[in-house]
């Protein structure tokens, strides 16, 4: 039920109850979505849509963080392995890594 789908805002308009709506495209399908909770979302933005309402604007700046963290973890474990070889330790990076 907490399913939220990312989609692209294609246009915005006023709709039922004087609220802000937009057409949002999900892959091949589009539907009308209430944009009342994402006042800063504009055409071209991606939003997370849950049961017909957009709950959040996706931040493109943060979208690649999952890969940045992976590289950080790999650096950590490489460092740990090198330190392990040098000191004969367990090869696990200690607290407060880079």
């Amino acid at each position: 039920m907490c399913l939220g789908i990312p989609g692209e805002v294609l246009e915005t308009h006023d709709g039922a109850g004087g609220m802000r709506y937009g057409t949002v495209r999900f892959g091949g399908a589009s539907r009308e979505v209430c944009l009342e909770f994402v006042p800063d979302a504009v055409v071209g933005d991606f939003v997370i849509v849950h049961v017909g309402l957009a709950l959040s604007r996706i931040s493109p700046e943060d979208a690649a963080e999952v890969f940045g963290y992976l590289e950080e973890m790999e650096t950590l474990s490489d460092l740990g392995a090198e330190m392990g070889e040098a000191t004969g330790g367990s090869g696990i990076a200690g607290p407060g890594g880079p």
Partner: protein, 368 residues
């Protein structure tokens, strides 16, 4: 699709699995509290990619599943009333109450309609002014803004034939209840990304501090879950217990101010009973005095006959993370999606449904 496919990259997932093996020195147990995450974990085999000794326990992350049978029975009685159009999300249709489900109610003449959004239920009320339209408002904080908006919209339009049957639940009090159990083995939480997209992270700070557990707000795709798990395990290995956000592309620490305002305008915090966890203080939402006219419980008073859970159903233990679905003797035998004993087998977020969909063959292989 953008913002989906890139987070399902198998190569990156394998690299995450390798870094986790290098990171972990001890056994750890984490719990996720979101049925969407449970389904991703089981579907993509995230749990099987983790280092030996690291266990992911499925918590009470399915709002349909934690709805007590008495509340379901009440809903089904309401759905049978001739003046009522009973509207609900689709995954409620097969959920069994004491005696039957919404599909039976519909087969016997009840006007039960599936809607995609509570706003669609408001539109039905507008089109059919001679009928009473009730929306079954089940959900976590993720769904509360949409339900609040439906009530606001109905009020703005002056509709007198729209109401909510509210069974809204809040996540943090349930986490408190789980941690308060003496037998609790959960050492960290993956918190539900979309709940926190609405509510932010402030509610989880005291919980993490008081119980010494890391809380990582996590997304739903395989790489999200692997990163969230890595962040929680790294905290545990380093002796930290902080609230961190993995799902930063969607979740801001302060949540969504407009959505929270809508919740606060329409709802108030109430006590609520959870299947499997019992009554938990302040764990639910109910309509406040200003919007009481939209409360289906007030509009349709009901002397509840006693309800009964199927004694064979172990949903309570599954919801507490104390029993895995396949360990239940009824799983796949006397309990299937066609003939469910309890909600977790048929809700789209239920843990039993996830194992039925993605792990049935593996289970059969093990039995053989």
């Amino acid at each position: 699709m953008k913002y989906l496919d890139e987070y399902r990259d198998g190569g990156a997932a394998q690299r995450y699995a390798e870094t986790l093996r290098a990171l972990v020195t001890r056994p750890w147990t984490l719990m996720e509290v979101c049925g969407g995450q449970t389904h991703s974990i089981v579907r993509y085999g995230i749990d099987e990619m983790l280092p030996p000794g690291v266990t992911l326990v499925h918590g009470p992350g399915c709002p349909v599943c934690v709805t007590p049978v008495a509340a379901l029975d009440r809903a089904f009685r309401l759905a049978r009333r001739p003046e009522v159009i009973f509207t609900s999300f689709g995954d409620m249709l097969r959920v069994p109450g004491s005696r039957d489900d919404l599909l039976h109610v519909r087969a016997e003449g009840g006007d039960v309609r599936v809607v995609y959004s509570p706003l669609d239920a408001v539109a039905i009320a507008e089109r059919e002014p001679g009928r009473e339209v009730v929306f079954f408002a089940v959900g976590f904080e993720t769904t509360a803004p949409a339900n609040a908006m439906a009530v606001r919209l109905a009020a703005r339009k002056g509709l007198r034939n729209f109401s909510l049957l509210v069974a809204q639940v809040r996540v943090p009090p349930a986490l408190e209840a789980i941690l308060a159990e003496p037998a609790c083995r959960v050492q960290g939480f993956l918190a539900a990304g979309h709940v926190c997209a609405v509510m932010g992270t402030a509610e989880y700070e005291p919980l993490a501090r008081r119980h010494g557990v890391p809380v990582v707000v996590t997304g739903f795709e395989p790489l999200d879950l692997l990163q969230g798990t890595a962040m929680a395990l790294r905290q545990l290995e380093e002796g930290r217990c902080e609230v961190e956000i993995q799902y930063a592309r969607v979740v801001r620490p302060e949540g969504n101010a407009a959505a929270r305002r809508a919740i606060e305008e329409v709802f108030e915090v109430t006590d609520r009973g959870w299947r499997g966890l019992g009554d938990i203080p302040r764990s639910g939402l109910g309509l406040n005095a200003r919007y009481a006219a939209f409360d289906a419980e007030r509009r349709f008073p009901d002397a509840a006959p006693p309800s009964r859970e199927d004694p064979e159903c172990r949903a309570g233990l599954v919801l507490q993370g104390r029993l895995r679905p396949q360990e239940c003797p009824a799983f796949g035998a006397r309990c299937t999606p066609e003939h469910p004993l309890g909600a977790p087998m048929v809700s789209s977020e239920g843990a039993c449904a996830a194992y039925w969909l993605y792990r049935r063959r593996a289970a059969a292989g093990r039995v053989a």
